[in-house]
C-alpha cells in the first residue's frame, strides 16, 4: 500500500507549490482513490482541502469547478444541470458508486489523464479550459497533450453556452470501466463529438463533426459515423478489440446525435 511520512494541510497555493517542488516524493492529494492503490512511499502529502477549491461557481461567462470538487457534487449540481443538462450525471453514474464519487475529485480525475476517464470525455465535448498554478490557463486538449510537468491543477473553467449534450457509454457491467464512451454536444449549429476509452484518452472527431448540420439527415449521419472511425484511432486491450470498438463508436455516436436532434 502507498505510504506518507507527513501530511500537510496547506494555507495557500503558494505554499502547496513550494512543497511540491521541494521533492519528487511530495505529492498533491486528490480524493486518494487512485493513489491509494499504488505502492509508492511518499514523503509529504499536500492537502488542498482548506483552500475553498471544492466549489462550483459562476462568473458572467463561465462555470468554474475547483479541483477539490467531488464528482458527486458535479453530478448533483443544479448549476451544471441548468447549463449542460444531464451530461455529468449521465457520465459519472457508472463510476463505482456514490460513496466513491463523494471522494473522487475533479482535479485528480483530470490531472491523471486516464484514457478511460468519463470525466475527461464529458469535459472534452464542452468548451473547457484548465487553470494550472505554473503553466497558467490552457485548453483541455492542450493540457491533455502537453508534457507532464509537476504542477497544480487549480480549476476547470467551462464556457457558458446554450448547448445541448448527450453522453453514451458501454460497460461490461454497470460500474466497470467503460469499453467506450462518447459525449456529443451541439452549440450554435456546431457539433462536438468526443470519444474516450478507445482505449486511449478522449479526443474530438473534428472532421466528422463538421459534416453535420443542425438537423442532419440519415445520409449525413452515416457519413459522419464513417468519418469518426477513420479519423480517430481505436486500439485493443483486455476489455475489447479495436474492430469492436469501431462498431461500438458508430452506434454510440449515432445514439448521441439522435438524442440531441430529437
Amino acid at each position: 500500500m502507498f505510504g506518507l511520512k507527513e501530511y500537510r494541510a496547506v494555507q495557500s497555493l503558494d505554499e502547496a507549490h513550494e512543497l511540491l517542488m521541494q521533492s519528487r516524493d511530495n505529492v498533491i492529494l486528490g480524493g486518494l482513490l487512485w493513489m491509494k492503490m499504488g505502492r509508492k512511499q511518499y514523503h509529504t502529502g499536500i492537502d488542498l482541502s482548506g483552500l475553498g477549491l471544492n466549489m462550483i461557481s459562476e462568473t458572467e461567462d463561465s462555470i468554474d469547478i475547483g479541483c477539490m470538487t467531488p464528482l458527486r457534487q458535479m453530478e448533483t449540481s443544479p448549476l451544471l444541470h441548468q447549463w449542460f443538462g444531464p451530461l455529468f450525471s449521465d457520465a459519472f453514474k457508472g463510476i463505482v458508486g456514490v460513496q466513491f464519487r463523494n471522494l473522487a475529485t475533479l482535479g485528480g480525475s483530470v490531472y491523471s489523464r486516464f484514457g478511460f476517464s468519463d470525466v475527461i470525455t464529458a469535459l472534452t465535448a464542452l468548451d473547457t479550459q484548465i487553470h494550472l498554478y505554473q503553466a497558467g490557463t490552457v485548453s483541455l486538449s492542450e493540457f491533455l497533450n502537453m508534457d507532464q510537468k509537476r504542477d497544480i491543477l487549480i480549476k476547470a473553467v467551462i464556457r457558458k453556452q446554450a448547448v445541448k449534450t448527450n453522453f453514451q457509454t458501454r460497460r461490461k457491467s454497470a460500474t466497470d470501466f467503460p469499453v467506450l464512451s462518447v459525449a456529443v454536444s451541439l452549440c450554435n449549429g456546431q457539433w462536438k463529438i468526443a470519444v474516450g476509452a478507445r482505449p486511449s484518452r478522449a479526443a474530438l472527431a473534428k472532421k466528422a463533426a463538421d459534416l453535420l448540420s443542425s438537423e442532419p439527415d440519415e445520409e449525413k449521419i452515416t457519413a459522419t459515423l464513417d468519418s469518426v472511425v477513420n479519423e480517430l484511432s481505436f486500439g485493443t486491450d483486455q476489455r475489447a478489440g479495436s474492430d469492436y470498438r469501431k462498431v461500438l463508436a458508430k452506434v454510440l455516436v449515432k445514439r448521441g446525435i439522435n438524442a440531441i436532434c430529437r
Binding site: L4, Y7, L29, G31, L32, K36, D47, V98, Q99, L103
Partner: protein
Amino acid sequence: MQITCRINKREFIRDIEPDLLLIDFVRSLGFKSVKRGCDTSNCGLCTVWVDEKPVLSCSVLAARVNHKAVTTLEGLEEEAKEVGWFLATQGAEQCGFCSPGLIMNILAMKAEFKNPTTEDIKQYLAGNLCRCSGYESQLRAIKNYFDLQGVAHENC
C-alpha cells in the same frame, strides 16, 4: 500528528500516523461494524458518513477527518435495526457480510431522496456489492422499507 474529531457524537483526540486510513482508525477505537471487503475501493462494505455524506472509509486519510463528524453503524443503532429487519424478512441477509455498508448507504439515500424510483435505488446502491443475494431480495426489502416511511416510490 494529532487530530480531534467526533465519532457517533463522541469526541476523540488521538495521535495518528499521517497515512492512517479512516477504516483502521475507527476500528482501532472499537467501531468494528466497519469492515474491509476489497483493496480497490469497489465493494462499499467500509461505508461511513463524514459530515453526513457516505464515503469509503478505506479510501480516506484519518488526518482528513480532523474537526469533522464521523458516523458509523454503531451510531445509528435504531435506524439500522429497522432496515436490518426489512432485509432479513425478505431473505436478503444471507452471509450478512455486506449489510453494515449497505445499511449505511440506504440510510444516506433516505436523507437525500424523498421518493427514490427503482432506478434511483439501483444507482445509489450500485457501489454496495453483495456476493449472495442477487440484489432482488435487497431491492424488495428497500422498497418495503421506503413504503413504511410513508414515502412513495415507483412500483416497477
